[in-house]
Symmetry: C2
Subunit: 127 residues, 2 copies
Amino acid sequence: MPQHAVLTLIKQADKAISAEDFDTLMEFYADDAVLVVQPGQIAKGKPQIRTAFEAISRHFGKTLTVTQGHAHVIEGAGTALVVMETLLHIGQAPEPVVRRATYVFAMDPTRGWLCTVDNSYGTDLLD
Amino acid sequence: MPQHAVLTLIKQADKAISAEDFDTLMEFYADDAVLVVQPGQIAKGKPQIRTAFEAISRHFGKTLTVTQGHAHVIEGAGTALVVMETLLHIGQAPEPVVRRATYVFAMDPTRGWLCTVDNSYGTDLLD
């Protein structure tokens, strides 16, 4: 079965993060998307999301790469919920940090699938 | 801070489940919403979702009630991701089954917030 389109987009976005290509990264987001930067802190809208990613990149000394593990896409009514293992490879750490992320995409009539909610913490927000 | 509108809707939907009022329950869903019935099995569209809830109700001998625990709503770009403890109280069981659920809502211009993806298994789908 071919991969769902949003998984291909996430893979491209992860490459943009690793390359620190934030112009390209922003193309994957709806204009008023929301990013959970960390529990209790959100970035809303592309300017804030871009600033957050630049800060995250600096925080990790520009050694962050992101890859995907297992994933499920549940598509309904013009939206798609992605539940996914997101692996954060940081510097020389021997093992990646594994998060169980949740992403929401919505189908935009002109731009196609766009990320509307980026919550890499998944249900761990409830801890 | 007042509760997010979608949390009020979920509470009303939970009441409808407990009352086995499936007509009311269906009003909370987009026409082509998706319900994760169990890992690997989805119901798509209101007729299938209704049939699934009727079967779930029969399965539990009509003793199922659903309540909410902790919850977070992350709203972006006309969608809302809900991460929530969903408590399933079944028959005379002393303790509820606690799931860490994920729900997606989208703002419909005429009908308001509607559930588009109902995944009470959250990131446990990755197990």
